[in-house]
Subunit: 142 residues, 2 copies
DNA sequence: GTCAACTATTTAAGAATTGAAGTATAATGT
DNA sequence: ACATTATACTTCAATTCTTAAATAGTTGAC
């Protein structure tokens, strides 16, 4: 079998896009002193709404034991902090620090810059249509 | 800053889609006994056209020293093989074995199954439009 | 022939990943 | 009330991915 059979598949195209984007995202993360996973975790955390480790684990799509180390490193860098949850003392509530919140903004700004460059080939209408289609796909996930 | 500022960004939506896809792809890889990176390498290799380690490194977007280990493990699993390149004895030529080629087909079949399930929310026309837009974005990369 | 550039590998260190085991806490059933 | 079960998180061990730096072998240009 050759790739030609897959070249016209929607999923195959998405895969290509994913693989290429991965490098760009990792580059942006690295620029800010984060690994890709740390950046992903950072993007999921809030400076105001505490989040349980288990919730983070679900959204990151990895094992709970994994999150321990990731949050350890964010906390080590002063970007996040763990607090006890008085309502359930098994739970650790994670939140962004001021520094973490600031870094998250910068990270988003970097991504926006990339967006401008990489989606420049699409017209405004095409970008709107792309957003509509992606939103529809995302909605059907669950 | 809250996510609301980003929620309407095309790049942000794309990022969400890609992050979710990552888990599915990893799940498919794992089902076939591969890591994500091994599956990626497998998808880049050919059963007929030999490829230099350095070429693989470029397409995988990682360090050359990294590829050594990845190909080691593929070779250990009987999926790929290294051969000397008579034209340039510095170069190792990597190719898929029969088993590797077979596994690659199965991997693609799995991805196709996922596509059917996850893009089911879109009409045929919408899928065609999505393919067109992604192709256009990919083309503008370079 | 010498020197610089290239190809692949090795090594060392950090990070991500999973599974299994362990601790503390909460919820449930009787 | 108490024992059992389930949940939330951590720790540990093993594997993989990652980069940087050092190495060995090969090539090509001068």
């Amino acid at each position: 079998m050759h790739n030609t059979r897959h070249d016209e598949s929607t999923y195959w195209l998405l895969l290509q896009l994913l693989l290429r984007s991965k490098h760009r995202i990792n580059a942006v993360s690295e620029k800010r002193g984060l690994t890709g996973m740390q950046a992903h975790a950072l993007s999921l955390l809030s400076p105001t709404t505490p989040q349980a480790m288990s919730s983070l684990s679900t959204h990151l799509g990895c094992d709970a034991s994994n999150v321990t180390g990731i949050v350890d490193r964010l906390e080590g860098g002063g970007l996040a902090e763990r607090n006890d949850n008085p309502a359930d003392r098994r739970v650790k509530s994670v939140m962004l620090t001021t520094a973490g919140s600031k870094l998250r903004e910068e990270f988003y700004d970097d991504l926006n810059e990339i967006e401008l460059a990489e989606l420049a080939g699409l017209t405004t209408d095409e970008q709107a249509e792309l957003r509509r289609l992606i939103t529809k796909v995302l909605a059907s996930y669950e």
